[in-house]
């Protein structure tokens, strides 16, 4: 069990470019979460899927952020027209229903 796998580990984008972050949850886990971590805001919930269906995206900035889970083995977080304030570590996590939440190592996004 390799745990939750996130790629890339580091990504640098220019302001206005698009960034796509990938997550492979632990096999068999029904819930997939995305969080954002910054020094100022801490760990912020973005969105989650249950059995690939979007359940709660209350933490997602509405205009430029989108998340998808096209199959049970991966999820993507896409940020369009990236801005410097989007710089953060984006964490993906997965769990069994009601079970322990396991986090990946994160993708550090830097917008220059």
């Amino acid at each position: 069990n390799a745990g939750v796998i996130q790629t890339p580990r580091h990504k640098v984008t220019g302001k206005g470019q698009e960034a796509t972050l990938w997550c492979e949850p632990i096999s068999g886990h029904s819930a997939v979460f995305w969080y954002r971590q910054t020094i100022v805001q801490g760990l912020e919930f973005l969105t989650y899927f249950r059995n690939q269906a979007p359940i709660d995206d209350s933490g997602m900035p509405k205009e430029r952020f989108s998340a998808q889970m096209p199959n049970q083995s991966h999820s993507t977080l896409k940020i369009q027209s990236t801005q410097p304030q989007d710089s953060a570590v984006y964490l993906c996590a997965s769990s069994l229903e009601g079970g322990e939440v396991f986090f990946g190592k994160g993708t550090r996004l830097t917008v220059v």
Partner: protein, 113 residues
């Protein structure tokens, strides 16, 4: 208003001492309280968790004391080791519906040898 609060941004103890990390919460509907440990460059990892029906949970050197009436909890790390130096996050979630975890701002623990 922060729903989960950790009173100390940082804490330093000597090796062998008991480190006490405090957490409080606003919403009495929260019923599950995990503590996560995070090392630099890693994602948070579950350390120990408690449900609101209990007032104490122990796992080796780690103990959670929970006070439902006061809406606070604490993580005690007995016999602290330099390898325990990390950031500790208190979190909370609701019993049903959304499974999202709501995190406190974290306490950076340093254990001096």
């Amino acid at each position: 208003q922060q729903q989960v609060r950790q009173s100390s941004q940082s804490l330093t103890v000597w090796e062998g001492e008991t480190a006490i990390l405090n957490c409080s919460y606003e919403n009495s509907a929260f019923d599950y309280f995990p503590w996560y440990q995070q090392f630099p460059g890693e994602g948070p990892a579950l350390l120990i968790a408690i449900r609101s029906v209990s007032d104490k949970k122990e796992d080796g050197r780690f103990t959670i004391f929970f006070n439902k009436r006061e809406k606070n909890l604490s993580l005690h790390i007995k016999d602290s080791q330099p390898g325990d130096s990390a950031t500790y996050f208190c979190a909370a979630s609701y019993p049903s519906g959304s499974w999202q975890l709501i995190f406190g701002s974290g306490t950076q623990l340093t254990v001096m040898p």
